[in-house]
Structure formats: structure tokens, C-alpha cells
Symmetry: C2
Subunit: 229 residues, 2 copies
């Protein structure tokens, strides 16, 4: 934030950050289901009712943590993309995917919060949507750019999926050929399948040398959409 702040506003920002930091610590230790306002307050030497000045409810604290996680992931992905902005789309595709994996390995509990099992009793409000969409929009941008440069040869579109594909491009990927819509959305989900399996231990004794395995898989994902090397 580069807005000038008075002392009270600064104190408020700092305490808000301290609450979220402590909540993240508890997330790592006990999981989102057991996140407790009282425990956070206790760890900060505050009384539980004081937290309500900062977060109107436990669910609002959870929502803030979720938005922060999506934004942190989105920022990491966008930064990685900018670093290779001059490369061909296939290279940028892989760079974004590798950044998603890197962020997930560095923040496993926040990854579990946003892409793991839903927290029982919690329903994410619409306010999480913009942050949640960042990585997806970035990948759409890569594919659209490939199309504009003539570097995209998407697979044929099954007639059954034509209407759905056209709705998708109209809704959130204007300028992208509808043939790429279903393969891209599928690749997006599949990317998180690869990351989740590694993170949650399903690759234990199955995949040993994980980075080259991952790069190979996401390169294939890019080709399945029609990105050319």
C-alpha cells in the first residue's frame, strides 16, 4: 500500500496482518477446519472479542486468508510470466505452470486451503472470485497471444462441446478460438492434479525426480491445447 496512513490506520493494518500471520500458523498446525478465533487471540495476547474489530466472524478471517493465498499464488505466477514475456508462448506456458508448482511447494498449507478439500460449513463468498481467477486469466492470455501470432493449432472441437466452448470464450476468454477453450480449462484443472498429487504424497515411491517429470507433463499439456514448441 502506498497510501499515506495515520498512526491509527497503520496500527490497524499491522494488527490485521499479525492476526492473519498467526492464523496461517494455526492453519499449518491444525488445519482450516480447526482454525479458532480464540486460539489466535490467545497467541497474540489479545482477548477474543477484540478480534471482532478486525474480522466480523471466523468465516471472514478464513475468507481473508483464502484471498491472500490466491493473490500470493497469482502474483508469483504473474511475476514468473513477466520474466519470460519475450519468449514464445510454449515457454511462457511452462514458466507459469512451474511457478504454480513452486508456490505450492513453498506454501503447502495455503495450497490446501484453496485447492484442497472444502472446509466443512464454510462457503466461499463471491469476493474470492477475482483473486481465484488470476492464474486462469494468465493462462488464457498466453493461449490467446499464441493464437494472435499464429502459433496455436488447437485440436478439433467435438460438436457436443461447441455450445459450451463458445459460451466459455464469450464469458471469460474473448478473442480465443473456441477450439482451445475445453482443452485449456481441462489443462488448468490437470495442472492442479499434478501439483496436488505431488504435494499430498500420492507420488511417494512413484515419481522420484519430480521437476523434470512435471516439466514434461506440462509441456504435453500445452501441446494438448495446441501450443507449438
Amino acid at each position: 500500500m502506498n497510501t499515506p496512513q495515520g498512526a491509527r490506520a497503520r496500527a490497524r493494518t499491522e494488527i490485521t496482518a499479525a492476526i492473519k500471520d498467526e492464523a496461517r500458523r494455526q492453519l499449518a498446525a491444525e488445519g482450516a477446519a480447526k482454525l479458532s478465533l480464540r486460539a489466535v487471540a490467545r497467541a497474540l495476547g489479545m482477548v477474543s472479542s477484540a478480534l471482532y474489530r478486525y474480522f466480523p466472524s471466523r468465516d471472514d478471517l478464513l475468507t481473508a486468508l483464502i484471498i491472500d493465498a490466491y493473490d500470493s499464488l497469482g502474483a508469483a505466477a504473474e511475476e514468473a510470466h513477466e520474466a519470460v514475456a519475450d519468449e514464445i508462448p510454449a515457454v511462457r506456458w511452462t514458466a507459469v505452470c512451474v511457478a504454480v508448482r513452486g508456490w505450492a511447494l513453498a506454501h503447502p498449507h495455503e495450497y490446501a486451503l484453496i485447492y484442497g478439500s472444502p472446509v466443512p460449513g464454510y462457503v466461499a463468498p463471491q469476493t474470492t472470485v477475482p483473486a481465484a481467477a488470476r492464474v486462469g486469466l494468465l493462462l488464457i492470455g498466453v493461449v490467446r497471444d499464441a493464437h494472435e501470432r499464429g502459433a496455436l493449432t488447437p485440436p478439433p472441437l467435438p460438436g457436443e462441446l461447441r455450445a459450451e466452448a463458445e459460451r466459455m470464450t464469450a464469458d471469460f476468454a474473448p478473442g480465443m478460438p473456441p477450439e482451445a477453450a475445453a482443452p485449456l480449462v481441462a489443462a488448468w484443472a490437470q495442472l492442479y492434479g499434478l501439483v496436488g498429487f505431488e504435494l499430498f504424497g500420492q507420488f511417494h515411491r512413484v515419481v522420484e525426480d519430480r521437476e523434470p517429470f512435471f516439466r514434461d507433463a506440462v509441456a504435453r499439456l500445452g501441446r494438448s491445447i495446441g501450443l507449438r514448441d
Copy 2:
């Protein structure tokens, strides 16, 4: 079970089943993190100490639920495969994937238990491995069979992955060409990415007509391994 049982053994089997049923109910309501032996006991009109005659700890109950879930999923996948055993490998591939999705939609909380975020503080023992491997072994069988019929043209194997691919085939997919190993393991993870995204709500307002979308995606996955239509 077709072993003849005395009255005592039968009662034990029934009570064990009742405990697991009630635990699954709580799993759905509160999540695995909050699964509590006491609450299960209360719901069954038992006292908590009595449960320890059936499950020595909460983690053992969790392990039993996890093995049951893997076995239920594995059985559903194997049954779907048998129903199309005479078809070409690409058809059998899709049938198994569709069965995995169908099972997951029918058992979302058990899916979350085995493929969602890890339960904090719980580490799965080796006893879960055979049940967990069933779907993977089934998919390996489809690909191996395609190879034996000459219906498999796997993508070229990057030199970087040669050693890993040969270890994979030696460890759990003998008779399968190493070129197919990495694409198959990746496809296996990606399948669960597709299912998880649908189940956990990431496709909300993104994918509307989900079954054809899913079939298209898994058909592409099959082709990425080298299965021919």
C-alpha cells in the same frame, strides 16, 4: 465375506460396520479433522471406551475408512472395466475414468478423505497402499494391453526422464514400454485434477455441461499416452 462365522464373530463384524457407517456420516458433516471417537460412540449409544475394542485409536478408524474408500473406488473402476472388457483400449480407458468420476460424485466426502488435503496429524500407514493402487494398476493394465495389441504409440521419451521411466516400469508396470510411463502417471494425476476441480467447486460458472467436457478431456489424456481411437 463367505467365511462361516459364529454368533460372536458376526456381532463383531456388524458392530464394526456400524461404527464405520456412523464415522462416515460424521466425515460428511464435520470433516475428517474433527472425526471424534466419542461422538461416534454417542451416536451409537455406546460409551467411548467400548469403541476401543474395535479400533485401538482414532487413527486406526481413519485408516479403516481410507482403505474402505480406496477399495470402494477400486471396485467401481474394476467393475466398469469388466463391463467393456472386449472393447478397444481407448474405450476401456475412458470407461475407467468415467467410473472414477461417477464414484467421486456419489461419494464426495470419501473422495475428499483419500484425494483431498491430508488430515493434520495423521500419517497413512503402509497398509493403505494395496487399496490405493487399484485404480492405477487397472490403468496400467489397459495401457499394457494396448501395447501388446500394437495399439499404442507413446510420445518420444525425453532423455532426462529415461532413467525414471525405466525405474517406473520395472517397479510397477512390467511389460509396459518406458515411453508410456511418464505420460501415464501424469494422466493418472491429471484425472484426479479434473475430478477434484468439479467436486470442490472450481468449475462453478466455468464448466456447465460437465460430463461431455470430462469425456473429451480424458479421451485427450488417453491419446497423450499413445492410446489410439
